[in-house]
Symmetry: C2
Subunit: 199 residues, 2 copies
DNA sequence: TTTTCAAATGAACGGGCGTTCATTTAAATG
DNA sequence: CATTTAAATGAACGCCCGTTCATTTGAAAA
């Protein structure tokens, strides 16, 4: 049986991606079978291969799409002005981007080891480019004496780890709204780098 | 053939744990087969069941052992004195404990989802107890006006994420020694919470 | 030397894996 | 209505999985 009702391309495709993302994040890449994905989508396993070359590509496409969206979003945030403003913009963008995508974030950190060498290199390059955006802000701030930082590379990694860690405990129906979280973390970030205290 | 040379109990057992840890961290729990572990240990798959009830217990024992060691180590660190000193002690202990155990840390964050419900609850309880140790220090510091923190629970999670994130990039043969890392991160932590800047 | 038994073997169990492909279906096209 | 073709089926491929267990081995105990 095929095409039970209406043309399915452009419907099944995205559903395969969404289902794979959810299941990979929930159980791990290796623990999820193509047959499980197919069952949740509502097709047979063979049909998945109309939408992906193989299982590994399914993972890679999710991670690459995530990093591309992340970089694109940061570009759109269009950070300008003095270093402190740009740092605030980065912090708020990072939180705004990551909180609604907790599955994807978890996947991006956990399943890098399941990528082939060249696929891994691609993702690592994109991640490094993202980190470098923050590091550039920190370096500018040190140059202008707005920030006091010993080691900007370390501070970059420390801040990103701190911000990304939010996805480990945040729940949309929890004690804090996304806005409150952003406010609180911006306070922490500012104090971590600022040369002078703020009242 | 059995006992090729000398009694093997007490030798094979730990080797099974070590090998399982390394392979789980490298490839993921679900991606590693009992036969792979056995091959690296140098026995047949069946022999593993002299040392573990099943594959899941192998994972749980590793994670539980880690959390027990972590809590025990923190107790041994025996933090005393004013909040700032205790925070410094906690920070340095956390780094000292985690840096030589990067595989175990990675495993502890990635593979919680592969635990049964009750095994998961056990690990989560231990983790919460560890977080509460830090939170208690922060609360004391706020009470004594040594620290200025809006939300001590959030600050706790933020600091632990920041410190644990070191294991994602630290390499023993890298640019920074463990001591330099501890020094740099203690600087970041102090600035994040301290009520007044330090020269 | 003989006995004991912890430790390991190796075959077997039922089942699931990723992937391929000839075939069938039915919506869209002319 | 007849044709085309995108989309899905379902069986098959060879292979690996976690776990069990009767059997074998050989170091240590008697």
């Amino acid at each position: 049986m095929a095409r039970k009702q209406g043309s399915h391309a452009g419907i099944t495709g995205p559903r395969v991606q969404d289902t794979a993302l959810r299941l990979f994040a929930q159980h791990g890449f290796a623990a999820v079978s193509m047959r499980q994905i197919a069952a949740e989508v509502g097709v047979q396993a063979g049909a998945l291969y109309n939408y992906t070359a193989d299982k590994q590509s399914l993972l890679f496409d999710l991670l690459q799409g995530n990093m591309t969206d992340l970089m694109g979003g940061l570009d759109s945030a269009d950070l300008k002005g003095p270093p402190l403003s740009r740092l605030e913009g980065f912090t708020r963008f990072h939180i705004r981007y990551h909180l609604p995508r907790r599955d994807l974030v978890f996947l991006s950190y956990m399943e890098l080891r399941n990528l082939s060498e060249s696929n891994y290199a691609t993702i690592a390059r994109l991640r490094r480019a993202y980190e470098d955006r923050l590091e550039a802000i920190l370096l500018d701030g040190v140059a202008s004496a707005d920030f006091a930082i010993d080691d900007c590379r370390i501070a970059t990694l420390a801040l990103i780890a701190q911000l990304t860690g939010i996805t480990n405990w945040y729940r949309p129906d929890g004690r804090l709204s996304e806005e409150q979280v952003a406010e609180t973390y911006w306070g922490l970030v500012r104090r971590t780098v600022a040369a002078r205290s703020h009242a």
